[in-house]
């Protein structure tokens, strides 16, 4: 297909709320493309990380090329670019969407539109993508496609009356999805003869090939031997291989051209050279129009990550570096804590992102970690007129030199069944939320909009929201700016020494309660010593809460029955083992679990 080659290409992604059937539909499309036998068909081909399976969400963007013949026998190349579905990964979604001309909006015929779906749809519309609604799970007894179609039209404002009514699971009307993709999603229209201009939308490190860069070619061509340049990092390489994404494997090819989605390798050793969102061009004939729409993502949530075993510090650094190769939004820098030793200050897109990184470090890299309380970034205005962006509470300057402090504010949208409105409004008030609006989506569902300080939602808001709404409320937020706030730094002292890793910034109105809860929690976590240990919470020099761990007066084994030494030794070993996992704060041994326990204050 020479000049009209691009006419037969469609690049699209799928937008769906968790559980609305995105992976099932992707599987079904792959299967129907006939590229994979039943036997090869792994369940949910796109989600291939353990973690994703367990959480039921897709973390990393991935792509697959499908070959589809329409009724006239024309062969189309359909590139499906998968996107994550969670609010934390907004940026990853945006760069995947930018590689497409269209997006399938999959909505559960029983559940309707959810908050996170909305956010991603708006992102797609902002990227000028053609949004193609698909109503899934029509085989469910509770399916109500008419309602859902109306909801899509009312809320999103796109035509949905001719949306395919399908069941990906039961294989109903999947052909209509193919037809829709071909009819509705625009074909790419890049200039094959212009200088190379390709977008990096993902990359990952492979031990044999080096970094594998996922690209969407907009203009020009790239093949083995092309001297390329990454325009943001200004790094140059010679291409070793290019190819397409077959289901579950890479298919090497001669050349990628305008409109194509594929990969390239170029003996790149460091993922940091391949910034997601960067433009790939030819070294000696660069494009004049690199992508500008990609912003560097700024982490919203920070926390300290320390190895439980201090000697594992280099391992932790290696692991973070490896994760960063595939995750441009993960930020880290070395940090030293008096209490926890050497570790890293890490920045994340949100709490889920934080948890995923934590789990990957623990699982894939076998590291035992101690994390500190997450913090947002505060703007600290000094009396001398300067401004500091503070992400580590320990670094807060002397309060007498601070003129004012600002905290990040988000717009939070919560979609929920109307019966939970009261409960959830109460929750939002507790978290210093400011009511904005409430809109009914239909008789039984509404959207609640609140303005809320980000630091009130980074701990456990999502968990509490889920539990108080029995799992029915969905939630999304976006940063809308900073506002001045009466913030204080709460320090925790163990035996009169400030534990830097436990300091955090909190609104003055919550300081007392949090201080009390933390002291009580630590009292439970720290075992008794030979001396009395005061645990205090303070703001500046003022003590606002106190608990006391009484002195250990006695720690003796009972009678040694018939010379059973083995049992005694086991008891001592257990004691010794416990002590190994302790951090020394002055003369007090603090278990690592104590640092984590303060993250979950509302649990008991």
């Amino acid at each position: 297909m020479p000049e009209n080659r691009q006419k037969y290409i469609r690049n699209f992604s799928i937008i769906a709320h968790i559980d609305h059937g995105k992976s099932t539909l992707a599987d079904r499309l792959i299967q129907k493309s006939g590229l994979l036998t039943e036997r090869e068909m792994q369940e949910q081909v796109l989600d291939n990380m353990d973690l994703e399976r367990e959480r039921g969400i897709t973390i990393k963007a991935q792509a697959v090329r499908l070959i589809h013949k329409d009724k006239e026998g024309n062969e189309y190349i359909l590139n499906l670019i998968d996107t994550p579905g969670h609010v934390d990964f907004n940026y990853e979604v945006s760069r995947s969407l930018a590689a497409c001309e269209g997006a399938l909006l999959v909505v559960d015929a029983a559940q309707g539109v959810e908050a996170q779906t909305l956010a991603n749809v708006y992102l797609a519309i902002d990227n000028n993508l053609e949004v193609v609604p698909i109503i899934n799970k029509i085989d469910l007894p509770s399916a109500n496609p008419e309602n859902v179609i109306k909801e899509i039209e009312d809320i999103i404002g796109i035509v949905a009356e001719d949306a395919p009514l399908i069941s990906a699971k039961a294989d109903i009307n999947i052909d209509q999805v193919f037809d829709k993709i071909i009819d509705s999603v625009p074909a790419p229209n890049g200039d094959e003869n212009a200088p190379l201009k390709a977008l990096i939308f993902d990359s990952f490190y492979d031990a044999y090939k080096g970094v594998i860069v996922f690209i969407r070619v907009v203009d020009g061509k790239v093949k083995k031997g092309t001297k390329i340049k990454f325009m943001a990092t200004n790094k140059e390489f010679e291409v070793v291989d290019v190819g397409f994404f077959g289901p579950g494997r890479f298919i090497s090819t001669d050349e990628l051209q305008a409109g194509d989605v594929g990969y390239l390798t170029a003996s790149i050793k460091n993922v940091r050279d391949t910034r997601i969102g960067d433009t790939v061009t030819e070294s000696n004939n660069p494009t004049n129009t690199p992508f500008a729409g990609y912003k560097k993502v700024n982490p919203m949530v920070y926390c300290g990550i320390f190895p439980a075993d201090g000697s594992k510090y280099p391992d932790l650094r290696d692991a973070l570096e490896k994760l960063q190769l595939n995750d441009a939004s993960l930020y880290f820098e070395a940090e030293t804590s008096v209490a926890l030793g050497f570790g890293f200050r890490c920045g994340f897109l949100g709490l889920l992102h934080l948890e995923i990184i934590q789990e990957r470090l623990e699982r894939e890299y076998n590291l035992d970690l101690v994390m500190t309380t997450p913090s947002v970034i505060y703007n600290i205005y000094m009396t001398d007129g300067s401004m500091i962006k503070l992400s580590n509470p320990s670094d807060l300057p002397d309060v007498t030199k601070i003129q004012k402090m600002e905290e990040p504010i988000v717009k939070a949208e919560i979609i929920l069944p109307t019966e939970y409105i009261g409960t959830i409004m109460e929750l939002c008030q507790e978290r210093r939320g400011e009511y904005v609006t409430m809109e009914y989506l239909e008789e039984t569902r509404a959207t609640l909009t609140y303005k809320m300080p980000l630091n009130e939602i980074i701990y456990d808001f999502f968990d509490v929201l889920k539990s108080r709404s029995r799992g029915y409320a969905s939630f999304d937020y976006e940063l809308i700016g900073y506002e001045e706030s009466d913030l204080v730094k709460l320090d925790i002292m163990v035996n009169r020494e400030v534990v830097d890793a436990l300091s955090f910034i909190v609104h003055r109105s919550n300081a007392y309660e949090r201080g009390r809860k933390i002291c009580a929690k630590l009292k439970k976590e720290i075992s008794r010593h030979q001396f009395e240990i005061p645990i205090q919470a303070s703001i500046g020099n003022k003590i606002i809460a106190r608990e006391t761990i009484s002195a250990l007066r006695k720690d003796v084994l009972s009678k040694c029955y018939g010379g059973d030494i083995t049992r005694k030794k086991k008891l001592l070993e257990k004691q010794k083992e416990g002590k190994k996992r302790m951090r020394q704060i002055g003369s007090v041994d603090v278990p690592q679990s104590a640092f984590m326990s303060v993250l979950k204050l509302d649990e008991d």
Partner: protein, 377 residues
């Protein structure tokens, strides 16, 4: 070749009823079971021919309540042991519980060669005795004690427990004073420890047990140390006090890593660097027909690391602690090459004293577990 010394432990796992604090290996049984058990026990002793290569320096018949079974059985068991080489001055102890003793029985036990009695008195307050599940009264004990003296036992240990639920300091003082007035040669005092699987534990879980706090516990312990010391009892181990020359030989074997061989249900042994123990399953024991291979269920050949650790934490139970020279000789290593930080730390915290020996300070005895755990490598 000179034979090495060994202590013998005999376990009699029977009791009339279970005391509320007890998690030891003991239970109620009938006469037929006593006899069956005794026969297997004797087979076990006789089939352990290796014992020929040792000199027996002590025998300890413990339980349970050994005095619950007919005394002829005790005699038969002892006879089985006497077939081996037994030192002329061997210490032969039987644990005895008031309520299972008579003048006749005591007289017989003495005649079998038993020269030391260890009586489970626990308290001299009848209300407390009842509340901890003992079957005897203060008066019964006093009668037994008098009988024991009159049949010729002059080496008697009295076991006491303090920090019992609802116990008042004054009651403990009274018990101690009354015990001292009897002038026994040896006194053991243990602070109550709540163990899982006991009646007390169950009561505690249900909120029905009023334990004394650590402050009172230590007050009782310190009072005991003081009054016993004034009355000529030397504390030679964390929980054991004796008149000079009456320290329990058998007890010291445990703390100094000497050889001991246990016979009977769940009995433990330490012989030539190997720790082992018998099954705690009564039926399995009875079905073993006394064959060692069928009744042993745990065996651990101690590594050098194990031996060093045990030498330290067991030795530290003794008031005189461990000898640095003994350590260096026994392990052909300088103790400071292994423990310099641990010794320094505990010395700084005032938990140990270091001379040519290392031993616990009074403060160290209070939290001996903490110190001992530190000596694990």
């Amino acid at each position: 070749m000179q034979k090495s010394d060994v202590g013998i432990y005999i376990h009699i796992p029977f009791c009339k009823s279970k005391c509320f604090y007890c998690d030891f290996n003991s239970f109620h049984a009938n006469n037929g079971e006593f006899e069956f058990y005794k026969n297997i026990l004797i087979k076990e002793i006789s089939s352990f021919e290796k014992l020929k290569n040792y000199n027996i320096k002590s025998i300890f018949i413990g339980g349970g309540t050994p005095t619950i079974i007919p005394e002829e059985y005790i005699n038969e068991i002892l006879e089985a042991i006497f077939n081996y080489n037994i030192n002329r001055d061997a210490e032969i102890t039987i644990e005895a519980n008031p309520g299972t003793l008579t003048y006749e029985k005591l007289k017989n036990l003495k005649s079998f060669g038993i020269n030391r009695l260890s009586i489970g008195v626990q308290s001299l307050n009848n209300k407390i005795l009842k509340n901890i599940g003992r079957i005897h009264t203060k008066e019964e004990f006093l009668k037994n004690y008098e009988d024991a003296i009159s049949v010729g036992f002059n080496n008697i240990n009295l076991d006491l427990i303090f920090s019992l639920p609802d116990q008042k300091f004054s009651e403990w003082k009274d018990t101690l004073k009354n015990i001292i007035s009897l002038n026994p040669k040896h006194i053991s005092t243990y602070g109550l420890i709540l163990e899982e699987g006991t009646k007390f534990y169950e009561m505690y879980q249900n909120g029905n047990l009023n334990l004394v706090d650590d402050y009172l516990d230590r007050k009782m312990y310190y009072y005991a140390k003081e009054i016993l010391s004034i009355n000529g009892y030397e504390q030679y181990e964390i929980s054991n006090f004796a008149k000079s020359g009456f320290e329990s030989k058998h007890n010291i074997i445990y703390w100094t890593m000497e050889n001991y061989k246990g016979f009977g249900l769940g009995a433990h042994s330490y012989l030539d660097g190997i720790r082992s123990s018998n099954t705690t399953n009564f039926n399995k024991y009875l079905n073993s027909d006394g064959e060692i291979s069928k009744l042993e269920d745990y065996k651990n050949i101690l590594s050098e690391k194990d031996k060093i650790e045990e030498f330290m934490f067991l030795g530290l139970r003794l008031s005189k602690g461990i000898s640095i020279e003994d350590f260096n000789k026994k392990f052909n290593k300088n103790i400071y090459d292994i423990y310099s930080d641990v010794i320094k730390n505990n010395l700084n915290k005032g938990l140990i004293t270091v001379t040519d020996r290392i031993y616990l300070t009074e403060k160290g005895k209070d939290i001996s577990n903490t110190v001992m755990a530190d000596f694990l490598l």
